[in-house]
């Protein structure tokens, strides 16, 4: 089904997408073993991975992935897992965001 409106230069098809962000429920962070519990003292739940120490590698939290997959299957959706390579404004090298939409490459 499509919804078309007539514009001055021709017909325009209206396409609406929803971007839904949901917080997963997990004991530890998405890419490190540090606690994700709310209300702790500042800087008390930071691992060497979170602080991006040299040589540290992220390991994805399997429970978070399982929740995302279950949600997707429940919605009868197609699942795509993508790595974000976006640069954020608080990073030192301020390059333009890549990609066409600003959230296009988010996992």
């Amino acid at each position: 089904m499509s919804y078309v409106i007539e514009g001055a230069t021709g017909p325009w098809e209206l396409v609406i997408g929803l971007e839904v962000h949901a917080q997963v429920v997990s004991k530890s962070k998405l890419f490190s073993g540090a606690s994700a519990e709310y209300g702790a003292e500042p800087n008390s739940q930071v691992s060497f991975v979170d602080a991006a120490f040299p040589g540290m590698l992220p390991v994805i939290n399997a429970e978070c992935v399982a929740q995302a997959v279950r949600t997707g299957l429940g919605l009868k959706a197609e699942l795509l897992l993508r790595r974000s390579a976006r640069r954020l404004s608080d990073q030192p090298v301020r390059a333009p965001h890549r990609g066409k939409g600003r959230d296009r490459h988010r996992a």
Binding site: F53, P54, G55, M56, L57, A85, Q91, P92, V93, P96
Partner: protein, 493 residues
């Protein structure tokens, strides 16, 4: 005579109590003290730690214990984080950084009883082919041209590790290989260097350059010695999601398999335009040696080889620009004080990174930026898939490939340094295997007209290091390479 030991020979002598680890370690520390002014292979030497580890190893051997590397003095590329020992990546930006953790690879070696002599020099962040971009000054190759004493580069980026082993300052050492950083310096320094399959050794605790390419591996003076060291370095690590969950075979045993019945591919595209007659002759010699040892020689094609370098120099800087974003002066390493946060970032990075690192951050940021991403990075990823397919198809027909390691012998210190493109061409024979993730070894096979060592490279299937070691050992046996560098520790010197 202690410095003429191989790793396996020293291990046997230690077990038979013909020598103690303290004697062996002291002899190597003396060699370092004597040769460092000429070679500068090390950024940090750790004699107290080495002697303490040696004494612990002697005690363990005395009790009939002691792991596979017990009491063996080795050197560690200063890209591996070592707990409590300064780790620099040869960059000013890590000024004062002392890791509170031990990399998985070095932890595996310590578990097996190794003695660490110190941290070796490298190109800054492993970016280079000559060990001249180090913030701590260049390493000099222990080899010299016949009748000349001009300083030559040891290759790179693991040039300090290669030079230390070549000169007798360590029995073996660790390196990392992103586009040839183990194999090319092994060739330049007349020793053996092995890059395992991507995922064979954990990258946890290794300062990252290009994460989809970086792979730790061993240097030593014999093929078997690299096999022994890899057996200790390798293994699954849950802290590195790309590390392979498969058992570590007996690599040293594989060195004695021989090559009878193996099919060895000769990739025709590696006969690059302008290949020197000496390299071509060495390659032909290597083919003849393997044929005489019972292997079948097969002509194969890796049609996308010519795109290897161009693709690598998009993918590697892209990943580097992302990996090096963390060095901002806030949490560790160098900090240049400034009035606001942006100035702090910018002034710290301007002061902390050398010219080659800056060049690669710029290239990487460019190829990842909006409008250029599809044209460069995305296209490079597609070509990388074709490079991998070349190898996959070739390995359906052959068990291993034989090529030269590098297009030349070691060049002079200062040559090529003002021309990055000339420098990048050093990696032309090593980069395709890095892009495909397959294992490779460089074995010293002969000397050029100036008396400098030249290596041959053997490449194998993913996780078939055993065949690579078998073919490498066959080349080693046939070549009988016995030349030694001009600058080295003589027995009794």
């Amino acid at each position: 005579m202690t410095l003429e030991f191989t790793l396996s020979g020293a291990r046997d002598a230690l077990r038979a109590r013909r020598i103690s680890s303290r004697e062996l370690t002291s002899a190597h520390l003396a060699a370092i003290a004597a040769l460092e002014p000429d070679i500068h292979a090390f950024i940090t030497v750790t004699p107290e730690q080495a002697l303490a580890q040696a004494d612990a190893a002697d005690a363990a051997i005395g009790r009939g214990e002691g792991g596979p590397l017990a009491g063996l003095p080795v050197a560690i590329k200063d890209l591996f984080c070592t707990k409590g020992i300064r780790t620099t990546a040869a960059s000013r930006i890590l000024d004062g950084f002392v890791p509170p953790y031990e990399s998985t690879v070095t932890a595996n070696m310590l578990r097996d009883g190794a003695v660490f002599l110190g941290k070796t020099n490298l190109d800054e962040f492993a970016m280079g082919s000559s060990t001249t971009t180090s913030a701590f000054g260049p390493t000099v190759n222990p080899w010299q041209r016949r009748g000349a004493n001009a300083a030559l580069v040891p290759g790179g980026s693991s040039g300090g590790s290669a030079a230390a082993v070549a000169a007798g300052m360590a029995l073996a050492s660790t390196g990392t290989d992103t586009g040839g950083s183990i194999r090319q310096p092994a060739s330049f320094c007349g020793i053996v260097g092995m890059k395992p399959t991507y995922g064979r050794c954990s990258r946890w605790g290794v300062v990252a350059f290009a994460s989809s390419l970086d792979q730790p591996g061993p240097f030593a003076r014999t093929v078997e010695d690299t096999a022994i060291l890899l057996g200790s370095m390798a293994g699954h690590d849950p802290k590195d999601s790309t590390s392979a969950s498969r058992p570590v075979p007996d690599y040293a045993a594989a060195c004695h398999r021989g090559v009878r019945g193996l099919r060895i591919g000769i990739p025709r595209e590696y006969r690059a335009d302008g290949m020197s007659a000496e390299i071509e002759a060495l390659w032909s010699q290597g083919i003849a040696w393997l044929r005489e040892a019972g292997a079948e020689i097969v002509d194969v094609s890796l049609p996308h080889t010519k795109y290897g370098l161009a693709t690598y120099y998009i993918v590697a800087p892209a990943e580097a620009s992302s990996n090096l974003a963390r060095y901002d002066g806030v949490r560790f390493g160098l900090r240049v004080p400034a009035d606001d946060l942006t100035d702090l970032y910018e002034e710290t990075r301007a002061a902390g990174f050398g010219a080659e690192v800056r060049r690669r951050i710029l290239i990487g940021t460019y190829v990842l930026s909006a409008g250029y991403y599809d044209a460069y990075y995305l296209k490079a990823q597609k070509v990388r898939a074709l490079l991998l397919r070349d190898f996959t198809e070739a390995f359906e027909r052959v068990d291993a490939l034989l090529t030269p390691t590098a297009p030349s012998a070691a060049f002079g210190l200062g040559e090529k340094s003002d021309d990055p493109l000339q420098m990048y061409l050093n990696d032309v024979f090593t980069v395709p295997a890095s892009m495909a993730g397959v294992p490779g070894i460089s074995v010293p096979a002969g000397l050029d007209a100036d008396g400098l060592p030249l290596g041959l490279q053997v490449l194998g299937r993913h996780f078939d290091e055993e065949t690579v070691f078998a073919v490498g050992a066959a080349l080693e046996a046939a070549a009988g390479f016995s030349a030694r560098p001009a600058i080295r520790m003589e027995a009794g010197r």
